[in-house]
């Protein structure tokens, strides 16, 4: 039977995306307004910096990179950390990760935007960026590590944009994505994620004149700290989305990420210790930057408070991560994650980029502290990234969990009921996953149960009235779903119910069933209705 229901096109997709991205409650608008204001303050500070020159920063010929490049280095790590969700989701088919992996992938996109903006605001001549682009410009590849960084960062951005856009587009249209068109890119993005932070480390450790950076441990350290800060940020985002947005991701993705940071936080601290021992024990003059950083030197102590704050934050967070009860205390978990996020931000910037310049290559002690302009621009860049990330999430998350126009069967009443079914199923999963009381779960389940029966009855009546030949088959499928729902009900009422497992079964078995049923079986009768006019 020909399928007469047309699939919606890209224009409708964009309209829907814009609608989703810009629609929300008061909290959403307040958040967007705040980010916009901070970003605009940054834009204004940058415009002034361009006009008056980089003299408005705290940098100089001795410390010639500051907050911008520190922030750039840090956010490369955040972008790379998406891989910690991509690997379990795609490589090990971890179902719990499958819903939330998009949170990591979109974060990678936003983080790369932050990186590219951070480098742009650091340029003395942003008007000449095209000098880097052949054939007009000259690209000093392969000898300049900066050109490698340009390639890997933009490549990583393109990979993640493609994967997210392709999967969301298919999900929206109700079509099955072709694995050939995204899986190779997913696997490539895993290797690529490691490359972006390795190449960024090579920017520094390749410089023989800066002994503080000139260590083979730099790339491993960068990766270890990235796999602390990145997953920590994703945990906070998942907690916030669950709490504020009502998205039922459940504990499992968070538990997995927590297992990752539990280890990486320790590895990161271990590497810092190894670095300190190697430099300090031998007592060579190559350790002068490290000595200045940790203890101050020649009466200069500018970075000492920064690094010890970072160490304290990272040690306390690492200890909290080890505590088995942390998962049950979302507030404390978020606090620990934020602590280590800030700790690593300091460690990468004030603890690594800046001390590479102090003392200078001629051993002069010139200290650095960022000016108000630098803080404004840096916060503006981060706010810009957060703005983009919020819009991306607002577009993607409803697509992933709910009914989309691609699932339309061309019958307004049935579409409305399908949409409602998804909402009810999501509400049930959310109730079970968030460990709400049995009474509430029971209520949600009762409601879903009643609604399913009502919807199936309506649908079957419609088929019968129109003389649809596949009615008996369709009835059997409906009955199967009702039985499955009853089984879930029974399992949940058992005194020793593994509610987490039930939630996952609900979420995947039932939602997948519903998706498939609407996409294939319902469209068949919808075509039938359409031919009858």
């Amino acid at each position: 039977m020909p399928n007469l229901i047309s699939r919606p096109g890209p224009i409708a997709f964009l309209r829907q995306a814009i609608h989703h991205a810009t629609d929300g409650g008061p909290l959403f608008y307040a958040w967007m307004t705040l980010l916009t204001c901070v970003a605009l303050v940054g834009v204004n500070a940058w415009a002034n910096q361009v006009v008056h020159g980089m003299q408005v920063t705290g940098m100089g010929d001795h410390v010639s990179w500051g907050l911008y490049i520190s922030n750039f280095t840090f956010f490369v790590g955040v972008a790379a950390a998406a891989v910690m969700m991509v690997i379990p989701a795609y490589l090990y088919h971890d179902h719990e990760m499958h819903d939330s992996v998009i949170v990591g992938e979109l974060l990678a996109i936003a983080a790369i935007v932050v990186c590219l903006l951070s480098v742009t605001v650091d340029l003395g001549r942003p008007d000449r960026f095209w000098h880097m682009m052949p054939p007009l410009g000259r690209f000093n590849w392969p000898i300049s590590m900066l050109t490698w960084d340009v390639i890997v960062l933009n490549g990583y951005l393109a990979l993640n944009l493609w994967i997210c856009a392709y999967l969301l587009w298919n999900r929206w249209r109700g079509t099955a994505p072709s694995p050939r068109l995204y899986l190779p890119f997913v696997f490539l993005s895993i290797v690529w994620a490691v490359s972006i932070h390795t190449v960024t480390a090579f920017l520094y450790c390749g410089l023989g004149g800066r002994p503080f950076w000139n260590t083979a441990l730099l790339a491993p350290r960068f990766l270890a700290s990235a796999f602390v800060a990145g997953p920590a940020l994703i945990i906070v985002i998942l907690l916030a989305l669950q709490r504020l947005g009502g998205y039922p991701f459940g504990d499992r993705p968070i538990a997995l990420l927590l297992r990752i940071v539990r280890i990486t936080a320790l590895i990161n601290l271990f590497m810092l210790g190894v670095e300190c021992f190697t430099a300090l024990y031998a007592g060579s003059t190559h350790a002068s930057s490290l000595r200045y950083l940790l203890f101050g030197a020649h009466g200069h102590h500018g970075l000492v408070p920064w690094i010890w704050s970072a160490i304290a934050l990272n040690v306390v967070a690492a200890a909290l991560f080890l505590w088995p009860g942390l998962l049950r205390r979302p507030g404390l978990l978020a606090a620990a994650c934020l602590m280590t996020f800030v700790g690593i931000w300091i460690e990468k910037g004030m603890g690594l980029v800046i001390p590479g310049f102090i003392p200078s290559t001629l051993h002069e002690m010139v200290e650095y502290s960022p000016t108000a302009t630098e803080w404004k621009i840096t916060l503006g860049v981060v706010a810009g990234g957060a703005l983009i990330y919020t819009l991306l999430l607002k577009t993607a998350l409803p697509l992933i969990s709910g009914w989309t126009p691609g699932l339309s069967v061309g019958h307004a009443a049935m579409d409305a009921q399908h949409r409602r079914l998804f909402e009810q199923l999501n509400a049930l999963v959310a109730a079970v996953r968030s460990r709400r009381g049995a009474a509430e779960v029971g209520r949600t389940l009762d409601f879903l149960d009643a609604y399913v029966r009502e919807h199936f009855a309506d649908e079957e009546r419609l088929m019968s009235e129109s003389g649809y030949a596949g009615l008996d088959d369709h009835r059997r499928m409906h009955a199967g779903f009702v039985t499955e729902l009853a089984a879930v009900h029974a399992a949940l009422s058992a005194p020793d119910a593994d509610r987490q497992a039930i939630a996952e079964r609900l979420h995947h078995a039932m939602r997948d069933w519903l998706l498939h049923h609407i996409r294939v079986d319902d469209r068949a009768y919808a075509s039938h209705l359409a031919t009858r006019g």
Binding site: R125, N140, T361
Partner: protein, 305 residues
């Protein structure tokens, strides 16, 4: 619900449009300072190709343009030349630490010769006062302010070492800095994007960035200028010692050498076996700063006694 939705949507859409308009207006206001910015004097200058791609005729035309700009901006006549390296010549510099007295006249001469910004008192040379008995710069001080030479001290001026294996040219993402045939490391001020990676890479603190537009009173501007050397630099680009190529490529000596009252500085052609610098390298106790880094400088230090 479905009846109310269109009206609600419309109101919401209007509010969203108003918000977007407000945002766009605020963005325009935030970015407004850029209207005061004049990054290039002309479209031609903005679209200029890389120095190495210019024909001699184009280069001459560009030099005339820089002269015209100087006339327009400062009301003075300057001469801008683009002297090319002489095949077979390889410049080198040697500095006699036994007789340098730390008077900093070289640094001052550099400041004036190269049209450095007056307010920041920039120079390509930093002179370190060192304790006798050590070559470790950690014991040096470049900010000394007392009569020289001081007892128990010796003096070590540091400037660009024009390395044969130069870390700065390697790291430049746009090839805005390179080593010329005669060994001089130069910067194309009109090609540099100002990322300052070369400044991080240089082990000799030889590179300077134009954190602001350099300002020199018209009466003090050195009118004898080189396109790749001492013409007044734009804001936001790197610069460095060029062995005064506008002088040395025309057979004169660097300004720092001419200013030295003790004769501590020796400049010449490393490729010429009869040159004074070759005699110094063959007969004096010579050392190279940070030789272990493998940068292979063409700037040498030596001792008499």
């Amino acid at each position: 619900m479905t009846e109310e939705q269109p009206a609600g949507m419309t109101r919401r859409t209007v509010l969203k449009a108003a918000g977007a308009t407000l945002g766009a207006g605020a963005f325009a206001a935030a970015i407004a300072p850029l209207t005061q910015w004049k990054p290039a004097e002309s479209v031609d200058e903005f679209l200029r190709r890389h120095y190495k791609e210019l024909t001699p005729a184009e280069l001459t035309e560009i030099c005339r343009r820089v002269e015209a700009d100087a006339k327009k901006t400062h009301g003075i006549d300057v001469h801008v030349a683009a002297p090319q390296p002489t095949p077979g010549v390889k410049f080198g510099y040697a500095l006699n630490l036994s007789i340098c007295v730390g008077c900093r006249r070289c640094a001052e001469a550099c400041h004036r010769e190269n049209n450095h910004d007056r307010a920041t008192h920039n120079s390509y040379i930093r002179v370190f006062e060192m304790d006798n008995g050590t070559l470790d710069l950690a014991h040096g001080d470049a900010t000394y302010d007392h009569p020289v030479p001081a007892k128990g001290k010796y003096y070590m001026p540091v400037q660009c070492h024009h390395c044969d294996n130069a870390p700065c040219t390697k790291v430049c993402p746009v090839e805005a800095t390179w080593k010329e045939q005669d060994g001089i490391v130069v910067v194309d001020y009109n090609w540099c994007i100002g990322c300052r990676y070369c400044e991080a890479a240089c082990p000799y603190h030889a590179r300077r960035f134009n954190w602001k537009k350099p300002e020199v009173p018209a009466s003090e501007i050195n009118p004898d200028q080189g396109y790749l050397s001492n013409r007044v630099r734009p804001q936001g680009v790197m610069e460095k010692c060029t062995f005064c190529l506008h002088r040395t490529r025309e057979g004169r000596l660097p300004a720092c050498l001419e200013a030295c009252p003790t004769g501590a500085r020796v400049f010449g052609d490393l490729a010429d076996p009869q040159s004074e610098i070759r005699w110094v390298l063959a007969n004096k106790r010579v050392f190279i700063l940070k030789e272990d880094l493998g940068t292979r400088p063409t700037f040498f230090y030596f001792f008499d006694k």
